[in-house]
Amino acid sequence: MRPFEYVSPTTKAQAVSLLGASWGGTEILAGGTDLLALMKDDIVSPKRLVNIKNIRDLRGISSSPQGLRMGALTTLADLADDAGIKKNYPALAEAAIEAASPQIRNMATLAGNLCQRPRCWYFRNGFGLLPKDETGNELVADGDNRYHAILGNEGPAKFVSPSTIVPVLIAYEAKIRLEGPKGKRELPLEKFFVIPKSENEREHDLGPNEIVTEVVVPPVPNAKIAHYEIRQKDVFDWPLAVAAVALKMQGSNVESARIVMGYVAPVPWMSPEAEQALTAQPLDQETAQKAAEAAVKDAKPLSHNEYKVQLARVAVKRAILKAASGGAA
């Protein structure tokens, strides 16, 4: 790890002023479970690390009839243990408890989870986010891409969006709040993730001197919500495919659906095709299967990951059936 300056501001404004206006010189440190790994391998080498753990305003979970507010520093362990979340947003608690290991959940923060960098092994081994060789050939397309994207992979970005919490948060219609030198802004969570087109861009709509301050989730009265992950190992492994669904019902038919896949594209992938396929339909094996087909209809697997198309299809189908039968266990 390269040497760096370590600063611990106690207010959001101080933190913003300590961050650089361009990427490279400074990084925000929350739990450090992702950033320290990147720094150990010299993938990221900031000159200054801005520790945000001492900023009180970024802490805390509160539930009210208006919904749920989670401060940026909420840990994954807090998400898994919070009584209000377990009761009202059980699929979120379930996604949190399935992530990583207990020790990591005790350190890992919600904002860090949303801002964690891709697990792509080219990126993690120093070849860049959009890896190319000296002659400009894309390394992932020609290389070992078994864990890479099957959707949204037309451009140079072939990595997959790494969070297993994000798809379910998007299904719950979460919004993310940010604060920077120009003030505050709020985005639907799905808009926070972008597909970079050049090495100077990142995979988030986040300025180098902006901070994620909190995530808010509206109340969800009559929706059936579920989250389903497919992992090679049962525990402590990154998934191969994730699906989260939220189904608003009108009688026994689906009035509207939100269907989000993780680990299939450089961003969390919403599928309007699958949502359309379920709308005004009853929930059964057949309609779930049709929606799942629609979700992967446009998949373009790379040379070594065609198997992921089937896994994504199955994840969507099982998430729908799980939601139909009552959602999170």
């Binding site: 790890m1 390269r2 040497p3 760096f4 300056e5 370590y6 440190l29 450090g32 479970t33 320290l36 790994a37 720094m39 150990k40 690390l49 520790n51 753990k53 362990a77 990583a100 290991s101 207990p102 020790q103 990591i104 005790n106 350190m107 525990v235 402590f236």
Partner: protein
């Protein structure tokens, strides 16, 4: 560029100027001289370096010493009271929860976090609690038995204390 930190380790304050890039596990082993905390992978995968930070299990190879400034750390050395082993240590002893012993400090600290929050865990709870810890010797079953053994002992002691009152 050094930073002064004060870290409470097993009840003793340790004050030291450190480089910000120093990992907590290196602070524990090299600055505080407490080598019970092991380093297996240094990449968050094996769990051998697990300690309690303000009571919660964390991987000390992926925490900076400066992140622990002003906080309290419990290492495996903090479990026994003088010659009296902690119930978890007795459990590992009695149920053969270790062979080479390399993973044991991490297993103990993770189980400690588990029992503090779930005093009577099922086998599944125990396996979940140690899923970030690798053991190449035991096959895990005896570790699960050891944690159960400790949980039974601790429950007995709690009820004995309650009875004495």
């Amino acid at each position: 560029m050094q930073k002064n930190v004060t870290i409470d380790i097993n009840g003793q304050p340790h004050r030291q100027a450190v480089e910000p890039r120093l990992l907590l596990v290196h602070f524990l082993r090299e600055v505080a001289g407490l080598t019970g905390t092991h380093i297996g992978c240094e990449t968050s995968l094996c769990g051998a370096c697990t300690v309690l930070l303000d009571g919660r299990a964390v991987k000390s190879c992926t925490v900076l010493a400066v992140q622990a400034d002003g906080r309290s750390v419990t290492t495996v050395e903090g479990l026994a009271q003088g010659d009296k082993l902690h119930a978890l240590q007795e459990g590992f002893w009695e149920e053969h929860g270790l062979q080479c012993g390399f993973c044991t400090p991490g297993m103990l600290m993770c189980s400690h976090d588990l029992l503090a929050n779930h005093p009577t865990p099922t086998s599944a709870d125990i396996r979940e609690a140690i899923n970030g810890n690798v053991c190449r010797c035991t096959g895990y079953q005896n570790i699960v038995n050891a944690v159960k053994n400790a949980s039974r002992k601790m429950a007995k002691r709690v009820s004995a204390r309650a009875g004495a009152r």
